[in-house]
């Protein structure tokens, strides 16, 4: 591979280009180069995420207010409206789940949490500011105990079986894994 003039020209070109590349990268190695490129996607994404969390707090603020006043029925009606308005947003489902659980409607609470977690897995992450991992773990423990007992007592009941399946879905998501 170093026989004739053409080979030598190719080697020389390769060496020159590699040196030029190293010089180019070396001269722009600082943070200035990164900022100028506008490509620091991680920072952009983190800013967008925090903006979203703030927007969620603002959007669902009235619901929190109603809950603090003990007006759970009104909070649920407001959430219905918000869920219809923002169908891709998980937070409404999670809040519905929290209220329904407080009201003792376990099966419905599980269904709401499942709908929320399917839309956004961040509610299961310890690291997320939206995390509800502890609540979901407690819901699963209670669901396995109560819904599991009902399912065992009524083996042919499809509604209870579907609720138990939802509890198992949350259990599987809490267990983690790659998906």
């Amino acid at each position: 591979m170093f026989k004739d003039t053409f080979d030598k020209l190719c080697w020389a070109s390769l060496a020159i280009v590699l040196i030029a590349l190293l010089v180019l990268l070396g001269m722009n190695a600082g943070s200035e180069g990164k900022a100028a490129s506008g490509l620091d996607k991680a920072v952009e994404r983190e800013m967008a995420y925090h903006a979203r969390v703030e927007l969620i707090a603002k959007l669902y603020g009235p619901v929190d207010g109603l809950r603090k006043e003990g007006k759970n029925q009104e909070a649920l009606l407001k959430l219905d409206e918000l869920v219809r308005k923002y169908p891709g947003e998980a937070h409404g489902h999670i809040l519905q789940g929290e209220i329904l659980r407080e009201m003792g409607a376990l099966d419905e609470a599980v269904a709401s949490y499942v709908a929320g977690v399917k839309l956004n897995g961040d509610y299961l992450d310890d690291k997320s500011p939206l995390s509800r991992r502890g609540d979901i773990q407690r819901l699963v423990d209670e669901g396995l105990k109560r819904i599991g007992a009902r399912a065992a007592a009524n083996p042919g009941n499809r509604t209870i079986a579907a609720s138990l399946q939802k509890v198992n879905y949350l259990r599987s998501r809490l267990a983690g894994g790659c998906e």
Partner: protein, 353 residues
């Protein structure tokens, strides 16, 4: 058999693959996914910007280690041989189909057995599917289905994939702004970088020496039974994985509440059947394709490229299954995959008359 050094290399490869498969999850990788080539490829495709699932983006060092470890072994033992030219485009498609099958099952054949050895009984459908797929593939080979021999050698094309992974290694350490790493989700779970890289290099090295892979083990057990070294490597894998799962407290037998698993057993079966069938036709599962690419096999390199394309598509098109089950697109993709492989078998069959 036990006096043959190669036998012990195969057993060591099985032990390391099973052992590190569990340990990498203990050290930080997602549960039951200490080693999962398909998950790693989906993560890496995401990190490079090929798919935008913000929970599945991380340039997995293990993946880079597999290829570079294999390259190092092949160079040291003078087995690096640049070769290629056997049905390149079908191999690219085969790589995509491998990822579709893995994504619908949620895991590659290595993860299949890591899931099973951690007590995930939903993986049983996948085991049945993999065995069925390998059997169909073996029947296909016996009946003359053959992608064709490599018709070119000696050129530098076998260097391209190792060079590409060397470039990925540079990116991993340089962390340019265009790389995206998840801050949440399963891709945010990872073992320390240097440990992951070292594990990948070690596994790549020994896998190249031993030729060990899961699908190859199933195929060899079918063809030559107890005389196959692969059987013993496979048993070593199972012993190491079960033992370490029990010791590390991750062993949790049952069908329900398993990490990264769903209950649609028919689709788990079909997903792994597709992987088994394709793997036999192209000479190895996703892991083996990486190892072969590292030792200069440009055909395997094209499968790897196909796997990256497939890894991006399964996330972008919603083909990948989740704990909630398999999407309509996932089911359709599996059926399309079977149609493509069946048609390929008809086209690539050498008929005696």
């Amino acid at each position: 058999m036990v006096r043959d050094r190669h036998f012990w290399i195969v057993v060591a490869a099985g032990l390391l693959l099973g052992g590190l498969g569990v340990l990498l999850a203990v050290w930080g990788n997602p549960e039951n996914s200490g080693i999962c080539v398909s998950c790693f490829i989906e993560n890496s495709a995401g990190a490079l910007g090929f798919q935008d699932n913000s929970r599945m983006q991380y340039l997995r060092p293990e993946l880079i280690g597999f290829v570079l470890g294999s390259l190092a072994s092949a160079v040291i033992f003078r087995e690096f041989r640049s070769r290629g030219g056997s049905a390149p485009l079908p191999r690219l498609i085969a790589g995509m189909l491998l990822m579709i099958g893995c994504a619908v099952f949620i895991g590659c054949p290595i993860k299949l057995f890591l899931r099973l050895t951690a007590g995930d009984l939903t993986a049983l459908a996948g085991v049945a599917g993999l065995v069925a797929g390998v059997w169909i593939g073996v029947r296909g080979l016996a009946n003359g289905v053959e992608p064709g021999p490599a018709d070119r050698g000696g050129r530098g094309e076998g260097l391209l994939i190792p060079a590409a992974f060397l470039f990925l290694l540079v990116l991993l350490f340089a962390r340019p702004g265009f790389l995206v790493f998840s801050a949440r989700g399963s891709a945010a779970q990872h073992a320390p970088l240097l440990i992951s890289l070292a594990a990948g290099l070690l596994l790549g090295f020994i896998a190249q020496r031993s030729r060990f892979c899961i699908t190859g083990s199933v195929r060899d057990i079918m063809l030559i039974g107890f005389r196959s070294y692969m059987l013993w490597g496979f048993l070593a894998f199972l012993v190491a994985a079960v033992g370490l799962s029990v010791v590390s407290g991750t062993f949790n037998p049952g069908f329900y509440g398993q990490p990264g698993a769903h209950l649609e057993h028919v689709w788990s079966f079909l997903g792994m059947a597709l992987v088994g069938w394709v793997s036999v036709l192209i000479g190895g599962c996703p892991f083996r394709q990486l190892i072969k690419a590292g030792e200069g096999d440009a055909d395997a390199g094209l499968v790897v490229v196909g796997m990256f394309i497939g890894g991006a598509l399964v996330q972008s098109w919603g083909i990948a299954a989740t704990a909630a089950g398999v999407s309509l697109y996932g089911k359709a993709a599996i059926l399309v995959g079977f149609a493509v492989v069946a048609a390929g078998c008809l086209l690539f069959r050498e008929r005696s008359v």
